[in-house]
């Protein structure tokens, strides 16, 4: 039997690849043997298996499918920005095989029925595993607690009012304790809005120069500090979303050393771009938390390198072209990120020497899966065959028309990045194949 991209066989070998797992890229070429959606075997060399079709990997890197702990798929209520189906296509194109959705939809994901609905929508799209988080409070209003128990049974992997912080400290404390006993974290959008309120970019030189209201670092640092102290006392698991300040990195580093059960993620834009990008008032650089200063960008990258920050998460936040036509101070916060995450990682972390390729892949696969204890992110014999083929050297220019998300609000439009996801497989089935620049 021959290998066929059009009809992926139930059993096949991928050969001529450098297998990357557990933070290391194999020095010698190896293979992956897939059978009925599972990893039948993997290792160095290339076994001969009679009758098993062979996909020649052409020297690409074969890695576990990526896991994104932070995406906004906007369904229900924001389907003009993104749906579970369109978001899944974007995820697959970015090499992701598992995503964790945020519950700030309309209505919010604040009950077990909504959790089941999202999982079902994910299964219908069939391109990526969808792991929903639930809201901390009904309607994300910051008052009272959702039925965490029923939602965890339905498949919720964590709780967050992301997009907004949980302002009420006693609610946060209760949520940490209660979720902790169910074995799932509370994910904090750490922002003291009494400090940042009304701001639309980082408070610093550029906000002063441009005449835009600033969001001081202290708004994030104070909120991270509060939530860590609450977690220390409550004993639950706190996960800090989208860390963007050097202060927050330092607070988390210290808390980890002291044994607090805290994990953290950082977005590609926070380890690659700084506030000077806002100089032309383009809302493509408006996000919350905002792009900070170069020493914050470096601190976030170092946090990823030393493990203070556990993983990369995109905070994929689609918005329509119309919304991004608003003036900077009026436009919504957020940028898409699924389809550029790997390339931004290669360009800004690997090529700068902060991480090696194995380390970057770990930040995108094994490490995020471990944070939420997800059955994903690894490549192990007998495990599910979620994997990607990567070309870490290919250069490409980010163009709106090439993005598969329903929204094109990328902070990297027009930028040439290095590193390309060539193909993505979920349970052994092809979910993405790169045709960029290929004449067929």
């Amino acid at each position: 039997m021959e290998w066929s991209w059009e009809r992926i066989p139930a059993e096949y070998l991928v050969t001529d690849v450098f297998v990357c797992r557990q933070g290391k890229v194999g020095k010698r070429k190896g293979f992956l043997h897939v059978k009925r959606g599972r990893v039948e075997g993997l290792g160095v060399g290339a076994p001969t298996l009679e009758g098993v079709p062979v996909l020649d990997g052409g020297g690409l890197v074969l890695a576990p499918g990526f896991v994104d702990l932070h995406v906004h798929f906007r369904e229900p209520g924001g389907e003009e920005k993104e749906t579970v189906a369109s978001g899944s296509r974007a995820a697959a194109a970015g090499g992701f095989t598992s995503v964790v959705t945020m519950p700030n939809t309309d209505p919010a994901i604040d009950n077990a029925g909504m959790v089941r609905y999202l999982i079902q929508r994910g299964n219908e799209a069939g391109l990526v595993r969808v792991f929903p988080t639930g809201a901390v409070s009904p309607g994300r209003r910051g008052e009272g607690m959702c039925e965490f128990g029923a939602m965890v049974e339905a498949g919720a992997v964590g709780f967050t009012d992301d997009g907004s912080p949980v302002r009420d400290g006693s609610l946060m404390s209760g949520a940490l304790k209660y979720a902790g006993h169910l074995g799932v974290p509370v994910i904090t959008h750490a922002e003291d809005t009494t400090i940042t309120g009304g701001g639309c970019m980082h408070a610093g030189y550029w906000s002063a120069r441009l005449g835009l209201a600033g969001m001081p670092r202290a708004g994030e640092d104070a909120a991270v500090f509060r939530d860590i102290e609450l977690a220390r006392a409550a004993g639950g698991h706190l996960h800090v979303a989208h860390v963007s300040t050097k202060g927050a990195v330092e607070i988390i580093r210290r808390a980890k050393a002291e044994g607090v059960r805290v994990t953290a993620e950082a977005t590609p834009h926070h380890f690659s771009l700084d506030h000077a990008r806002c100089r032309d008032f383009s809302p493509l650089f408006k996000m919350s938390p905002p792009l900070r200063e170069p020493d914050d960008v470096n601190a976030v990258a170092e946090g990823l390198a030393d493990g203070t920050i556990d993983c990369i998460a995109t905070d994929h936040a689609p918005h329509t072209a119309t919304e991004k036509e608003y003036q900077f101070d009026q436009a919504p916060f957020g940028v898409v990120g699924l389809e550029t995450a790997f390339a931004v990682g290669v360009t800004y972390l690997v090529r700068t020497g902060v991480l090696d390729l194995g380390g970057l892949v770990a930040c995108l696969a094994e490490r995020p899966a471990r944070v939420l204890n997800l059955p994903a992110g690894g490549l192990d014999e007998g495990g599910e065959a979620d994997f990607v083929l990567l070309d870490p050297e290919q250069e490409w220019t980010v163009q709106a028309a090439d993005l598969r998300s329903r929204s094109r609000n990328s902070a990297y439009l027009g930028e040439t990045l290095r590193g390309r996801v060539k193909a993505t497989f979920l349970r052994g089935r092809l979910t993405w194949r790169d045709r960029l620049g290929v004449q067929e």
Binding site: G211, L212, Y326, Q327
Partner: protein, 317 residues
């Protein structure tokens, strides 16, 4: 060509030569004001739209007068934020205006960056009449014109701007324009209103929170309007405290260099940022600023519409 550009969005973008060239033309227009017939026919048949997306009286009237004195056709179009809900974007408005074939758009908007955005999407010339807390270039030019009338060359001159610099587009345009012409700028006000980061805007920009020190060797005080509705209680305790700490009183003026003078972009809060005694006193040049405002706006409109400075020499004298 004095202005090699389609738009004037801020003094940050203009060179010293462009600023001085524009002020030279403005001076010639200013001379026309004292004639019995104050208008010149050089913009006849051209359409200028004044699009004010934020309440304004003075700036709008000044632009209108400038346009009328150039004999342009004028359309005034005002909205307040509440009528501009989501769904109607600035782009929609801009494209509608463009479809009606206009020659120039004057825009005042509450969002920083709005003028630049319109300049990118429109083919016609755009003049920024104030965008958020970003820039107000015509105010900057008229302030500089007023200073130059008294002081001549501004190189080495010391200008102190007092007020809520953080929220002031007037301050930013002054800073850019003045530093390009070689003046030294001191920004003064409480730390809540004068972020230290502003000192990084230029080698000759400094921040001084103490009023006495800030004005000691100043040639000019540019006193900004305190926005009573903005930040009271957070940025400063109240008007009485502001007046005590930063108000330009007779005592402050008496301590200045003898030839130093006082400017204010208006409208004034009497006895808050400026004492009536000073506002009505001999050291202020506030009405010169107002008159210069019309001349500066005439000059910009004229130059952006391709006016030839040589031709003006005969016509305006």
């Amino acid at each position: 060509m004095i202005l090699q550009r389609k738009d004037v969005l801020g003094l940050e973008d203009l060179s010293a030569e462009e600023i001085l060239g524009t002020l030279d033309i403005a001076g010639r227009f200013r001379a026309v004001f004292d004639r019995p017939v104050r208008s010149v026919p050089i913009m006849r048949g051209r359409t200028v739209v004044n699009f004010f997306h934020e309440p304004s009286t003075r700036t709008r009237i000044s632009f209108e007068l400038a346009e009328k004195r150039l004999s342009a056709d004028i359309v005034n179009f005002s909205t307040v934020d509440s009528s501009f809900k989501k769904g109607e974007t600035l782009r929609d408005t801009a494209e509608n205006l463009a479809a009606m074939k206009i020659d120039m758009l004057v825009i005042r908007h509450s969002s920083s960056g709005a003028a630049r955005y319109l300049a990118e999407v429109l083919k016609c010339s755009v003049i920024n009449a104030g965008d958020g807390a970003h820039e107000h270039p015509t105010q900057g030019l008229l302030d500089i014109m007023t200073m130059r009338q008294r002081l001549g060359d501004l190189r080495g001159r010391k200008v102190t701007i007092i007020g809520d610099i953080a929220h002031s587009r007037v301050a930013r345009s002054n800073i850019w324009g003045l530093t390009k012409l070689g003046a030294e700028v001191t920004l003064c006000g409480p730390p809540t209103m004068v972020p230290g980061a502003l000192a990084k805007l230029g080698e000759h920009v400094k921040v001084e929170h103490d009023l006495k020190r800030a004005v000691a060797d100043a040639d000019v005080l540019n006193v900004l309007r305190i926005q009573l509705e903005r930040g009271a209680g957070k940025a400063f305790p109240g008007n009485r405290e502001y007046h005590r700490m930063y108000g330009i009183t007779g005592d402050v003026v008496r301590g200045l260099k003898p030839e130093a003078f006082i400017m204010h972009p208006g409208p004034m809060n009497r006895d808050v940022e400026i004492a009536s005694e000073v506002a009505d006193g001999p050291r202020q040049v506030i009405l010169d600023q107002v008159a210069n405002g019309v001349a500066v706006r005439m000059a910009l409109i004229y130059l952006l519409s391709g006016g030839d400075p040589g031709a003006l020499a005969g016509g305006a004298q």
